[in-house]
Symmetry: C2
Subunit: 622 residues, 2 copies
């Protein structure tokens, strides 16, 4: 379907916005009045600039507080409208968004509203302009689409339709299924926005927290299905008021915006695929997906876990990291043929330790190898989702693995299931004698999860990226109290893969916390082995264990073992979770070892504040 | 009254929090459980540390989800309570906060709740502990203080009282006047928090947006009056969950916290002063203020306008600034006797241009001279409000003017009304011949307002500082759309003084916008003069004037004059506002000239987006 974006969704001067939208592949734009008013470009110049960029001006907006006011104001409003019609002709825009009236003087009289809109539509028609009447969620009297539709139906003019905006409808939990009954030619425009599910004043929610589809909590797939079932084939237009987008570069925001529409189209296509042969909602048949132009990227190949995780480390911490990995039971099993890169292994877990381009702020998680049956298809999907493949930096005989970068900086590398990439490393026999790598492999059984740092402004982008490109599913968003601020954390999962995005609080405690958690079957055996082998285990305060005893009716013997091994404890409805941490290596990175019992499905978030407090340098006054 | 703060209101490890609270002059603290659980210090060590710092541990909190649950859980909860009582004895805390139950299984049975709390109080009494039962605004059944009081009254035990928390009461708009009827000995504790008036989920509002008294919108003076009228003489304790405070240094936050309680006490004292001889609310007499220990700082001397504004400028922009001031009709009338500082004058307006310590990021507003009858009293008041006087850097024969620094960096200088500080400058005759300074003085008639940049984390602190130290009154908070993000702006006023705090959006457009606005009686004369004299006036797009015509039914001739002179236009209910801007000098600073007609009381905020868009470097693509 055609794709459009309102200029208010992007930052900068109007011409910057247009350029960013065009470069991201949009077909058209909605011109937001303030962007035009504050532009040094005349309307004709804007029209020309858009045309040069291949952009249609789909809509001009907003025209406010028009209908159902007393007569004198109606006359003044018609005068105001005529000026806007003249401007729209210069601009080459043929649809005007008319918002339902919010003025306290608005008269609660649908017939009057219809009559006023009819008069306006007759005048608009003379300029070749169509009105799209939108029920604002906070309209004085008209605040849902069924109401605006009744008024439009009463007015009954070919140049008057309704504008459907997903935010205004879903924010009030209005059932969107009724849209299916509206004739397609009466849906003059469609605006899409997602939003996190907040309970707050709708106007403030709308002005600050809208986001792109796939970044929030609305069911936009169902919403769009209803609109498409009604027969609407006009543009999908994003209208997103968002504080972060306002201050971010327009170019990457426009890319995210386009990715969000592609993601929504793919979701709709899958929905329609499964609905084939059934009738939707008992009212209208499901739309025939073959007759709608919906984005169809390569399917996300089933990810079969992590091939490896790559740690970047400078010379200063390389020895410490090596000692720690060794103490956790890893063995150095290979060296890269051409780079300062080592391969470490423990049972099925591979870690790559990269000393090229040492990280500026301490050891960090730089890349994740994802095992997939068809790396090329995975890469094609990423490209279709506007994620450029990173330049290949491999030597002639090395595995050519496609890779992309997640907003926030981590690289994703698509690896074949045959682990052919291991051929880039010399075998142990070629470089050093190493004990049997499987001697202690019983301790750690895999990678349980990893947590990556993301900045505030990248958080929603990274979330959408991982959903769209990898097909991961987001879990609940959490807030964790670090002594120096709240950390926001959200995990995304698919099968064996669990990746959490962590947003540090900024300010003086601005660590970029990141960690890698290994799974095990016996936490106490793993903790004992790690300690005996000299791993620095993060000490946990005694007070924590006293509190555990108050909170849970724990067996004294278990409590003593937890305390002895600095193992933390959590429960959910299913099972139990036991875990310990290593001390920090550098300012940000640490490892965790976890044991999940009876299908425990979370991450021990209740214990994160204890861990974060313990990780801060001791400041005990004497 | 005694002053206390909950450790959750401050950042860092527990011992840091205690130290910060003690240094700010608090008498005691509430220990928040998580701070203790995550501390490496044993409870006895915390007790000793607090005692060494002169702090009482006023309360331990929170004890959650206790009352009115089925029998088996009641038994488990008693066991949990016994562990907390034991801990409190080690800690030396004698009051436990018991929050009303939020568990979905809570039974709606006040008699059962009272019976459970009675049992708990009997056990607590054995440890010398008193329970303070608090109605959380989101409690399952008990969610207001009248309800919690009924239950406490029914239970009727000397070791059981209620905890009053201003947020839980005022966030739900519960009338606090009923507090006056509660016997003082049944008010076991008082927690104070302010908050901005938001319409959102109360739990989220409480967890993220609480702030210190004087930073938000609650009427805490009336609230405290009711509590004091009830006879409560225990500590005023701040319990503030705030994302910014969590990530800010504990020491300055603790100072702000103490300032907020002093400010609240002063407000209550004034209230009681005016209430003397009357009875409050027809229920209980107003409390006798002489019998309550309330903060009494020197009165804020009536400020008589601005003596001067000091601009800091480096050598690079000094010439440009001089040319601009000259074009605006200012004359250089003096040089400082010992420093690279010049005095400029236009009629009654004095500007000081300081070239010592050039600013790092371009010309800026560095200091404001406030004219007051008693600079010493003003300084004493500032010191009483914990604002340290800045070191005096004057030479021997120079005026010794006390000064303080507003959070955000601007210096306030208290100047006597005799303008004796002018003696620090050589007269024009001593250094250069200057035309009569009053020749063009008719153009600008004074300083209308000034706007200072403040960072996000300083905003509320600066607001409270200006309220407390200068006695300014905050106006409405505004959001202004810059092309590169939203700017938050809030003006504070008293008489002739209008100071706006501007919070830039951060991100790539991270300007620190600041400006000085001059008043005039004829905007077109002022604009013409400025232009003729070569002042670079900020151009305003034609589209703005076309839109003005659509919005207001303006006289064509007036519109033409506005357009010709790049003058902007606004209206409020009273009158009209005409204003123009100079172009930026350096990255942040500009001047404005304004004319207020018929008592217009705002700042032309509707035009700010146009000005901000115009100030960004032109990015018009060809």
């Amino acid at each position: 379907m055609r794709k459009s974006i309102a200029t208010v969704s992007l930052s900068g001067a109007l011409d910057e916005k247009l350029t960013a939208a065009a470069h991201a592949g949009f077909d058209g734009v909605e011109i937001f009045e303030n962007d035009l008013v504050n532009s040094p470009l005349a309307p004709q110049d804007i029209r020309r600039h858009a045309a040069d960029l291949g952009l249609t001006i789909e809509l001009y907006q907003p025209f406010r507080d028009f209908e159902a006011l007393p007569e004198a104001r109606f006359t003044a409003n018609l005068r105001r409208a005529e000026r806007k019609f003249a401007l729209m002709r210069q601009l080459g825009a043929s649809t005007l968004l008319v918002c339902s009236n919010v003025d306290p003087d608005t008269i609660a009289d649908d017939a009057l509203a219809a009559q006023h809109l009819l008069t306006l539509a007759e005048r608009a028609a003379q300029h070749g302009i169509t009105l799209a009447y939108e029920a604002l969620a906070w309209g004085r009297h008209v605040d849902d689409y069924e109401h605006s539709w009744r008024i439009v139906k009463t007015a009954d003019h070919p140049h008057l339709g309704i504008c459907l905006d997903s935010f205004h409808i879903l924010s009030r939990s209005t059932d969107p299924a009724g849209i299916r009954a509206i004739p397609a030619q009466k849906i003059a425009f469609l605006q899409l926005a997602d939003a996190p599910l907040l309970s707050m004043d709708i106007l403030q929610w709308s002005r600050h927290h809208r986001c792109f589809p796939g970044q929030g909590g609305f069911d936009l797939t169902s919403f769009l299905e209803h609109v498409v079932a009604a027969g609407y084939r006009g543009p999908l237009s994003l209208e997103v008021f968002n504080d972060t987008f306002r201050r971010s570069d327009a170019a990457p925001t426009a890319i995210d915006a386009m990715r969000s529409l592609l993601y929504l189209e793919e979701a709709l296509r899958r929905r329609l695929d499964t609905a084939v042969g059934t009738t939707g909602h008992g009212q209208t048949p499901a739309p025939d997906r073959d007759r709608i132009d919906l984005f169809t990227p390569p399917a996300p190949g089933a990810l079969q876990g992590l091939a490896f995780v790559e740690l970047a480390v400078g010379d200063a911490e390389a020895q410490v990291l090596a000692a720690l990995l060794d103490a956790l039971g890893f063995r150095r099993t290979g060296r890269h043929r051409t780079k300062q890169v080592e391969l470490w292994r423990h049972g099925v877990i591979h870690l790559v330790v990269n000393r090229e381009e040492p990280p500026q702020d301490g050891p960090s998680l730089r890349a994740v190898g994802l095992r997939t049956k068809d790396p090329r298809a995975a890469a094609n999907r990423a490209e279709a989702y506007l994620a450029p493949l990173l330049p290949n930096q491999r030597g002639t005989h090395e595995a050519n693995l496609p890779s992309v970068r997640v907003p926030g900086g981590t690289t994703l590398i698509f690896c074949p299931t045959d682990d052919a990439w291991l051929g880039d490393f010399t075998s142990p026999a070629e470089n050093e004698t190493s004990p049997d790598t499987d001697v202690r492999s019983s301790a750690l059984t895999g990678i349980d999860h990893l947590a990556l740092p993301v900045s505030f402004d990248e958080f929603d982008d990274a979330l959408l990226f991982l959903r769209a490109v990898l097909g991961l599913h987001p879990e609940q968003s959490l807030e964790l109290a670090d002594p120096y601020g709240l950390v926001r954390s959200r995990a995304l999962t698919a099968g064996e893969i669990r990746i959490a995005l962590n947003l540090p609080p900024g300010g003086r405690g601005a660590a970029r916390p990141q960690h890698l958690a290994f799974a095990c079957r016996d936490i106490f055996a793993a903790a004992r082995a790690a300690r005996l082998n000299g791993a620095p285990i993060q000490p946990i305060p005694d007070n924590y264990y006293d509190d555990l005893l108050a909170r849970y009716d724990l067996d004294e013997e278990l409590l003593a073992r937890l305390r002895e091994h600095a193992v933390l404890y959590d429960r959910d409805r299913q099972g139990q979770f036991l875990h310990f941490y290593t001390e920090l290596i550098g300012p940000h990175l640490f490892f965790e070892v976890v044991q999940r019992i009876d299908g425990y499905a979370d991450y021990g978030a209740a214990n994160s504040p204890t861990r974060m407090a313990a990780q801060h340098p001791a400041r005990v006054s004497s």
